[in-house]
Symmetry: C2
Subunit: 581 residues, 2 copies
């Protein structure tokens, strides 16, 4: 056992090079201990164990600085930098997050959860180092899947002009979450197959120096490679071949399934919590593809969003009905505009935090041109991701402000289906639809005409109206039920349109309502409710906006977070009781 | 004269190939006629004259579809597609815009003004074509400068996987607006110097087929190249060497100065309207660089924003004090975060519409990490660009919603300087500062402590308060003056902080004010004023938000547009008089 004596990278350096393999095995076991019991990112972490051991053997962290791309492969790094208990000791699992975190350790430099950022961030560290006149090594560790992102490609290009120390480790496991997409992956394959000797070389095309290592699990060779690169006076790419999921046979065999997920039986990989995935979105896409031969689905490397896997996905790709552009959200958004322009029924969807990458393409490429593409915003609001690295709590801020875009927000499966049907049959405007993590049927058919901005009155009362967005409508409805028992009948409104106000309905409310409460499942500042406040600004209507504060909230329970800001059945009922007293 | 008979691309095809050179000369003269009299994009259009003539000779527009990147090189295309009068006849200049525009012509497919979008949009057209089962050629025309943008690189990568017809014309004039930056330009140089034969080839690295033409002004060779590519069954890059500014000796000599601009004397290029550029920003940067040896300025290919040119810029670049990353805003924003993290005083600035590209990097890379970089938002609001292709009227929507970011809005030079001083000396938060197109001194030293959100009371009155953002504060002040003559004394407030409300001051107003009017220089929906409405939602204060509507407004006079929405001295005074009556 070496790991018991490793409390910082300094301790790694005390070992003999021949002992590093054993240390790596111990690190891998520690990773497996954690992921098998509480889940997390699996394949990415198992693949970089030796690489990380070698890194800390050769480089001097935290003087030398490593930036992890996405940082979902930082577990071995955490184990070697004073945080091993979070992997070895079940009681300590909660002491670390799944991403690099400067608050946890001086060996972590950025809080990161989005892909393709490492080379840019590292270049920034480099530029400051040069002004500081210090000589530390700056290292970016980026996976092959992240290379296709615009930010990474822009940074590789600039790195090709930069002329001082920068080490870019390309951890090539020949896999994104799903298979890779893009021409550059043909070149990576060629490089792997020629042991790095192929003359055609994407990195050299960007002006970068280059080294190749075929066995990224040979820790002694890794040490040798890192020693050669350490102290380089110019940017250099170290292209290292690794195996995603290394060390668990079932993970090595099905890399996509073992990218991330819940706890499992280490013996054979069987999952400990087996839940059936919701197929609502998948089925709605199948229905669309069947009814409309011009329909095409675009995705950016998040296979779980649409739920197409295996042969079904491969077949759709072959037939030009499904496109995975890889991690390249900007390209996907603009392609959706182009496809809609030329008559296709284009649907682009990915997770809300990653759609932040497409704001300009949404505004300039799609909405300025008013092309009728459909955008699916997966996991919007507080019920989406709950880590500050992946927040989607500002989706309304982003989507509701863009001219020409209709932003729809379903509260149940039937509404989602009706909205999708509207979006994919009209040819007038781009339409974006929020797709909550958990879509539940409400039991009535939705025959709304979504061509006209009309909020829906769910319950008609008087004095107080609650306007609640899709995912928190339930609180307004149950508060209304509760209030009935107090003899108070409030109006509950489901807006469904977040990009525009229903002036007629809001004006109508002035007749017999004195108070409006808005409730939303995201950030209140710049959000939906403030538009309602503004509408009533010059009237006698009193408006209260409920939603979470402007902050990078993290590791929260969505219902609990909302209730802290008054978005709960109890709070809404209490607010109403106070108002009507 | 051939041009007089050219009313559509069909007429181009009637000419003998040997006549095309003469047609090209006539097209160039028509371009010069327009730009010398009313200005516009110069170098880009002069460089693609022969290329465009050859395009329309070979391809069948509008069945074949060409997507112009940025589209600031579409004048020759407009001349050949039925819009020549807008170039030949001074009275018709106003009949076309400076960018491709589907409302003008069936030969234009997208409204475009941002760079690096053409290959993505073309790929979208391709995907729809494949579903349509038609066989038109899809062509993207992209300049070398635009290649460094993330969206373009993502699209080149995906094109390398795509397996049907797509023609990517790379118009290589070896120049961005300023000189190119990035390693890929070394490869373009190598390709030019080897007549396209260099084995290392960035396009081939992306998996793309490739042809090179060294003289992009030889129209017969262009025709031959296009004929060979037409009908290709896979994506192909046609790398064509052209000369930016071709045909005007002074434009060929100083490519940066002749990228775009106002009218000039054709004889020698002397400008007809000689206005001295405002050096406030430039001088403030020089001061910063002198007082802080850790200061570094980052820019993304918009040299006019900071105003560094020639040897001064080259020297700063050499010394690591100024970085032009090329068209690569995402990389610049993340680099600013990295540089700030490692102790530099990082300032990144570019124009508001292009900062839309960095929303995710602003939020995730910079603000989540709370690194104290400074972002300069040039040309924000309606006083920035006035074409729908370049709107910066949603900057508040973008910047004010992001947690941790302080968004400041100066109303005069002194405030800008004080804000810049605050931003670049504090080490607590990222700070973004709006930099209006025209900064004017107000005559008083600003000694505000910008570490604390405090709005400034400009004039103290009662009953009505007007809160007006920096660029429209003038209207509130002059309305207040005017109202005095009616015996009405209003309060005028300059908020300066757009990312937060000054609760204390706003609460104070409740004592002796009944009405608040907000006025802003951008989109009212999701903007600053709605936050004030929300603050007062549950009080007796009446609030009226003034600002422009949610729309891609275009070709407007800023003052006139604002006044249509009540943002003018007269309107504000009238609103107040109505309220206090």
């Amino acid at each position: 056992m070496f790991l018991e004596n490793i409390n910082s990278p300094k301790d790694v350096k005390k070992l003999k090079i021949s002992d590093l393999k054993i240390l790596a095995d111990e690190v891998r076991s520690a990773v497996i201990n954690r992921i098998s019991k509480i889940g997390g990112h699996k394949g990415p972490n198992l693949g970089v164990v030796e690489l990380t051991v070698a890194y800390h053997y050769v480089f001097d962290s935290p003087k030398d600085k490593i930036v992890f791309d996405v940082s979902h492969q930082c577990y071995p790094h955490k184990i070697l930098t004073g945080r091993k208990e979070a992997f070895l000791n079940d009681d300590c699992f909660a002491t670390v997050t799944g991403y690099t975190n400067p608050e946890e350790s001086e060996h972590d430099f950025f809080l990161v959860g989005h892909t393709s950022t490492s080379v840019s961030l590292a270049l920034g560290l480099c530029k400051a180092r040069d002004l500081n006149k210090t000589d530390e090594n700056i290292v970016a560790l980026i996976g092959d899947g992240s290379l296709s992102g615009g930010e990474a490609l822009e940074a590789l290009d600039y790195a090709g002009e930069y002329d001082k120390n920068l080490i870019i480790i390309v951890n090539d496991n020949d896999q994104c979450i799903a298979e890779n997409h893009g021409g550059l992956y043909k070149n990576l394959k060629e490089l792997r197959e020629t042991d790095g000797k192929s003359v055609q070389n994407i990195f050299k095309s960007f002006g970068l120096d280059y080294r190749y290592l075929g066995d990224g699990h040979d820790v002694e060779k890794l040490v040798q490679l890192f020693r050669e690169a350490k102290g380089t006076d110019h940017p250099i790419v170290l292209h290292i071949r690794t195996i995603k999921g290394k060390g668990l046979w079932y993970a090595e065999r099905d890399k996509e399934a073992w990218h991330a997920g819940g706890p499992f039986n280490v013996e054979d990989g069987t999952p400990l919590n087996n839940s059936e995935p919701d197929t609502t979105v998948h089925d709605s896409m199948v229905e669309l593809l069947n009814r409309d031969e011009k329909a095409i689905i675009l995705n950016a490397a998040t296979p779980t969003s649409f739920g197409f896997f295996g042969e079904e996905r491969a077949d759709l790709i072959r037939r030009g009905r499904y496109v995975d552009v890889g991690i390249a959200e900007e390209n996907a958004m603009a392609m959706a505009s182009g496809a809609a322009k030329n008559g296709a029924t284009a649907v682009f969807g990915t997770y809300a935090p990653f759609l932040q990458r497409t704001y300009d393409q949404l505004s300039h490429d799609l909405c300025l041109n008013d092309n009728p593409a459909t955008i699916l915003v997966f996991s919007p609001g507080v019920y989406g991701f709950t880590s500050n690295t992946h927040l989607g709590t500002c989706d309304v801020q982003l989507f509701a402000s863009v001219p020409n875009l209709v932003y729809l927000d379903p509260s149940c499966t039937e509404e989602y289906l009706a909205m999708l049907n509207y979006a994919t049959t009209q040819k007038v405007h781009p339409v974006a639809i929020r797709v909550p993590n958990s879509l539940k049927p409400c039991g009535f058919k939705d025959d709304t005409d979504y061509a006209v901005t009309k909020y829906k009155v769910v319950t008609k009362g008087s004095r107080v109206a609650v306007i609640a967005t899709g995912q928190v409508l339930k609180f307004a409805k149950s508060a209304a039920e509760e209030l009935k028992s107090h003899g108070v009948n409030i109006t509950v409104i489901s807006p469904r349109f977040l990009s525009d106000v229903d002036s007629e309905l809001l004006s109508d409310l002035l007749k017999d309502h004195k108070y409006v409460i808005t409730a939303e499942d995201g950030q209140v500042d710049g959000g939906f409710g403030q538009r309602i406040s503004a509408f009533y600004g010059n009237t006698d209507m009193k408006v209260l906006n409920l939603g979470i504060s402007k902050k990078f909230h993290t590791d929260f329970n969505p219902d609990r977070l909302l209730s802290e800001y008054g978005v709960s059945k109890e709070s809404i009922a209490n607010f109403v009781l106070k108002l009507v007293k």
